[in-house]
């Protein structure tokens, strides 16, 4: 069993195989693991599709599955794993983060309050929001 952590959370991926710097998952588990959908045109999320490079395509995909770590690096996103290859991190891209900020549309997030109720920033559209951070440490 391999655990894959993304910005959406951690998921246990039963059909995953970690092999050195490669992380293969079955085609069926791609979407539930990373939130991107495998389509004939490539890996897609919303309107964005990242096409498979023509060369070395078997490095990214075969009949059994998809090399998620290779795709992720192809998309300029950080890939990390623990020494045992049991836990993988597929990180967010600097490019996407920077673009979101430059659009000046406040990046949305959903977090729990002390009672566990979830609040999205976008729930408060129509109000001016002073978003501030603090900590105990």
């Amino acid at each position: 069993m391999v655990t894959v952590v993304t910005e959406s959370g951690a998921s246990d991926v039963s059909g995953a195989i970690a092999d050195g710097e490669d992380l293969w998952v079955t085609r069926a588990e791609v979407e539930s693991t990373i939130g991107w959908t495998l389509k004939p045109e490539g890996l897609c999320r919303g309107d964005v599709c990242v096409p498979l490079p023509d060369a070395n395509s078997d490095r990214y995909i075969n009949d059994d599955g998809v090399n998620l770590s290779a795709w992720w690096k192809l998309m300029d996103r950080p890939v990390l794993h623990d020494a045992a290859g049991d836990t993988w991190m597929l990180g967010a891209s600097a490019y996407e983060r920077a673009n979101a900020l430059q659009s000046l549309a406040a990046p949305d997030f959903t977090l729990p309050d002390l009672e566990g109720a979830l609040h999205a920033l976008s729930d408060y559209r129509g109000k001016r929001v002073f978003l501030t951070t603090w900590s105990s440490w």
């Binding site: 990390l80 623990d82 600097a94 900020l101 549309a105 440490w137």
Partner: protein, 230 residues
Amino acid sequence: MYNDVKEQDFMIIAVAEESRGEETAREFIEAANTEFVTLIDTEHHVADLYNMVNVPQSVWIDEHGTIVRPTETAGSHDAWRAMNREDMSIPDESAAITAKAQETYVNAVRDWAVNGAGSKHVFDAAEARAHLKLPDENVALANANFRLGRYLHAVGKIEAAEGFLKAASDLRPESWNIYRQAMNLKALGPMGLAADETFFKRVDALGAKRYYEPPDLEGFPNELGFQPPD
């Protein structure tokens, strides 16, 4: 502040960057008797999205969800660095600067709460973009290391976690959030603060560089407020 203006379509969302989760945060929230929405961010996701490096930092977001003041220090000031580390006292002169900084910032937020887009502290789009600090690939890699470290810590793989948390801080030394949260996950310091000798050494190493980058705000005290170490 909130009580004066709550009828005016203004609200405060206070996000606790707390990898230890809500129990650590709860006592602070209750002590402050806050009326605003307080959220717990164990993954430091908000710091990641808004490219924050310290607390408190804030962002002003208007009715349309548009950033009108990007990430900035929320009124804190480096004058705290004049603190006597034996008895934690702060010289009057530095305390006055800290108070002025806080008051100036709170007044600016209040002005915006009341006057909205008419507030002189609201940036237009070009000004807001000019004040953005954008993350690069190094920052993204640091955040991935932090996130993996924090996950491994949460599932009890402490040793592996510490390696990733250290890598995160090494990749992004300017993030006090990453550095201090990692220290806090390792062990709770005196009064629960991640402020031991190594922390103060790191602060001293800043010299005249800021621990809290001052916000670009009319009337905000820009002097250092302390004597930088040689």
